[in-house]
Symmetry: C2
Subunit: 398 residues, 2 copies
C-alpha cells in the first residue's frame, strides 16, 4: 500500500475549514454545512444521471464550468428538487449568500441539498444559517459537517488517507451521506472530498470518475440515481508537494488513496442501509463480458427476495439462481455455480451441495455466482432488507 | 359487454373435471391437483422467459408440441427447479403416472410445479397423490384444485365468464396462484384456464398471448419472470357451438371473455400481494411511445420507496417523480405531471398543488403520470409494501 489510512475528514487536508449549524429545517439537528477553501481549489464533480435533476445540480454544473471552486454549501431536510424556477432561484441565492458572507464570487460556490422532494426551502432560515456557518468556520468542524448533511443516516460517514509525495505529506479526506436501500438506485447520495494535493481539475475529473466507478457506482445501479446525487472533490494544492501530472507515479499513489477513501465511504453507506442488519458482497465471475457480469450482480443485489432471505438467514440460493436467470438470456443454467460465504451450494449440472444451515449467520455475507460463460467479473455491494426498512420508508415523507 | 361474468372455475366448462389431494409435501394441506378433459383439448400455453427454467416447463414444451392435451398435473410446495436430470425425470414421471392412472399417453399430460427451488420431489408421495387425485376427479373440485396449487397465497383465485355463440352457451373458467411482490418480476405465477369453446390451438395461442399481454404481463416486469411461470388454456369444444375462426365476431366475443378472466385472475394476484394492504394502478399517458410509457410505469411500480410510501399513506409524489426520471432519459421534467387518486399534485412547470393529506387513505390507489411527450400510454398493477412482506419472505425458504 502506497498510502496510509488515517482518521480524518473534509478538514484534514491543508487549506480547508468547515462550519455546521442548525437552521431549524430539521428538528434541533445540524442541517447546514459549509466547506471552505482558503484559496481557489481545483474541483471535479460527478452528478446524478436522473432525468429529473434537483436545482442545486443545475447550479453546480454552471458554477463548476471553470473547474474551480472555493466553497460548498449543503443543507439537509429539503432536497430542493421538483421545485421549478423558484427552486432554481433559491439554489442560486444559497450560493450568493455564501459568497457574500465569505467574500467570494457566487460562481466560486457550489450548492447541494438532500431531503424531501417538492418542498421549497425556507430561505430566511437558510440564509441565516449560511451566515452563521460562515462565521463558525474551523479546522475541527469536519465531524459536525458530516452530521449536518445526513437524512435517514444513523452513522457519521468519514474517511481519510495520507501519502508522501516528494517529501511532502498529502492528505485526502471525505464525508458522505446516504443509506443503502433495497434498490440502491434510489438512494440519495452526497459525498464531498478535499485534498491538499496539487492537481488540475481536468486530471482530477478523470481520477474521480475512475474512483467513483469502483466505489459509489458499485452501490448504484446502471446510472439510475436520485434527483440530487453528487460527488465532488476539491484540491487546494496546499501540501507543498509538486503538481500531480498525467502518467506520473504520484498520480498512481493519489489514485490509490482516493479509491480507498471513496470505497470506504461507499461501504459505509451500504452498511448504514435503512434497517440493514447485514452487508452483502456479490461477486460474479466467469461471465462472458463485464456487462453480463454487472447485470447478473445487480439483479441479485436488487432482488428483495434475496435480500429478505439474507435478513432471515434462509440460505435460499434458489432465489439467487432465479435472479441470475432473469438478468440475462445468454447462459446455460447447467453451467451455473453458486457459493455462499465461500461454500459451494449449487451447480454445475444443477448439483445441490450439502451446506451448514447457519451459513448466513455472519454479519457480512458473500455471494459468488459463476454463469460459466467466460472470464469477466463484477462486484456489487448491498445490504439485507428488514421490516425496519419498511417502517422507515413508510413514514419518511420525501 | 358481450359476455356475462359468472361464478366458476376450471370445472365450469363442459368436458372438464378436477381432483385435488394432500400428498404430505405441504403440512396437511391440499398440494396436488389434476385437471382432466374427457376428450382431447386444443391447448395453448405461455411460459416464463427466465433463463433458468424449471423441469416441468421443459416437459410441457415437449408435450404440447402438437397443440393438444388431456390433463394437467400440478403440485405445490416444491418447484422442481434447479434439479438437473433427476428433476427432469421426475417431471416426466409425473406425466407418466398421470397417464397411467387416466389411461392417456404421457404426451397428453402437462405438468407444473411451484414452491421451493432446488429440492427434489418426494416421488413416492407424488405418485400416490396422482393416483388418488385421478380417482377423485369431479365437477365440483374446481375450488379444491385452486387451493392445491397455492404457496404463500391467502385467497383462492378463480374467475369465469359465459357467452352465447350461435345459440350455445360457451364458458371460460380459470384459476391462478401467485402473490404480488415488491418486484412483481420475481413472483411465481401459475394459471390454468379451461373453456368448452371449439377453437384450434394455433388461434387459441394467438388469443392467449394477446390476453396475457394486457393482464398477467401488466403485473410482471419486462418478461423477467420466475423459473416456473406458466399460463395454459385448454379448449374442449364441448359447448356445441361451432368452431371459432380467425376474423369472426365469435372470436371477438371469446377474446373479450378470456381477457376478463385473465384480468380478474391477474388482479387477484396483485391484491393478494404478500403483506399487501393496498392495490395500486399506475397509468402513464402522454408518453412518446408505448415503450417509454411501459418503462416509466414499471419503474414506479417496482420502486420500494413508492410502495412503502403508499403503505404508510405518505403522499410522497417526489418519489414517483424520481422513479419516472430514472426510468428513461428522454423527457423534460418541466412537462411532468402527477396525479394521485385523480387529484393533480405536481406539474407542469414543477408546480406543486395543494391536496388533502389523507389522499392515499383508500384501499385502491391510482397514480397517473404524464411525461408530456406524446400520446402513448401503459398501465401496470401492483400492491404496496408492508413489514409483513419482509416477515413472509425472510422465513419462506424458496
Amino acid at each position: 500500500m502506497n498510502f496510509t489510512k488515517i482518521k480524518g475528514d473534509i478538514t484534514s487536508a491543508e487549506g480547508f475549514k468547515a462550519g455546521a449549524v442548525k437552521t431549524g429545517i430539521k428538528n434541533n439537528s445540524l442541517d447546514l454545512a459549509i466547506i471552505y477553501c482558503e484559496d481557489s481549489a481545483e474541483t471535479a464533480a460527478v452528478y446524478t444521471t436522473n432525468q429529473v435533476q434537483a436545482a442545486p445540480i443545475k447550479i453546480c454544473r454552471e458554477h463548476l464550468a471553470d473547474g474551480s471552486a472555493r466553497a460548498v454549501v449543503i443543507n439537509s431536510g429539503i432536497a430542493n428538487a421538483c421545485t421549478g424556477e423558484e427552486g432554481l432561484q433559491n439554489a442560486l441565492q444559497m450560493t450568493e449568500t455564501a459568497a457574500g458572507s465569505l467574500h467570494l464570487k457566487k460562481e466560486d460556490v457550489l450548492v447541494a441539498s438532500t431531503g424531501i422532494i417538492g418542498k421549497q426551502l425556507p430561505m430566511s432560515k437558510i440564509k441565516a444559517g449560511i451566515e452563521e456557518a460562515s462565521e463558525k468556520l474551523a479546522k475541527d468542524s469536519g465531524k459536525d459537517a458530516a452530521k449536518a448533511i445526513q437524512t435517514t443516516d444513523t452513522t457519521v460517514k468519514r474517511a481519510a488517507a495520507a501519502m508522501e509525495l516528494d517529501g511532502h505529506e498529502v492528505k485526502i479526506g471525505g464525508m458522505a451521506k446516504g443509506s443503502g436501500m433495497i434498490e440502491p438506485n434510489m438512494a440519495t447520495m452526497l459525498s464531498f472530498i478535499t485534498t491538499d494535493a496539487s492537481i488540475k481539475s481536468g486530471l482530477l475529473q478523470e481520477v474521480l470518475k475512475e474512483c467513483v466507478d469502483v466505489s459509489f457506482n458499485k452501490i448504484t445501479v446502471d446510472g439510475d440515481q436520485s434527483t440530487n446525487d453528487m460527488i465532488a472533490v476539491m484540491a487546494s494544492g496546499k501540501s507543498g508537494a509538486p503538481e500531480i501530472t498525467a502518467g506520473s507515479a504520484a498520480l498512481e499513489k493519489f489514485k490509490s488513496a482516493l479509491k480507498y477513501v471513496t470505497e470506504e465511504l461507499a461501504k459505509m453507506i451500504v452498511k448504514d442501509g435503512e434497517g440493514a442488519t447485514k452487508f452483502i458482497e456479490i461477486n460474479v465471475s466467469g461471465a462472458s463480458d463485464s456487462k453480463q457480469a454487472q447485470k447478473i450482480a445487480r439483479q441479485i443485489a436488487g432482488s428483495p427476495l434475496v435480500k429478505t432471505a439474507v435478513y432471515g438467514e434462509s440460505p435460499s440460493w434458489g432465489r439467487i439462481a432465479a435472479a441470475a436467470g432473469s438478468a440475462v438470456d445468454d447462459f446455460d443454467s447447467q453451467d451455473l455455480e453458486i457459493e455462499l460465504n465461500g461454500k459451494k451450494v449449487f451447480g454445475p449440472e444443477h448439483e445441490v451441495h450439502e451446506f451448514p444451515g447457519d451459513i448466513l449467520s455472519s454479519s457480512t455475507i458473500r455471494i459468488d455466482v459463476d454463469p460459466g460463460c467466460g472470464e469477466a467479473s463484477d462486484t456489487v455491494w448491498t445490504c439485507d432488507f428488514s421490516d425496519e426498512y419498511v417502517e422507515i420508508n413508510a413514514k419518511y415523507y420525501s
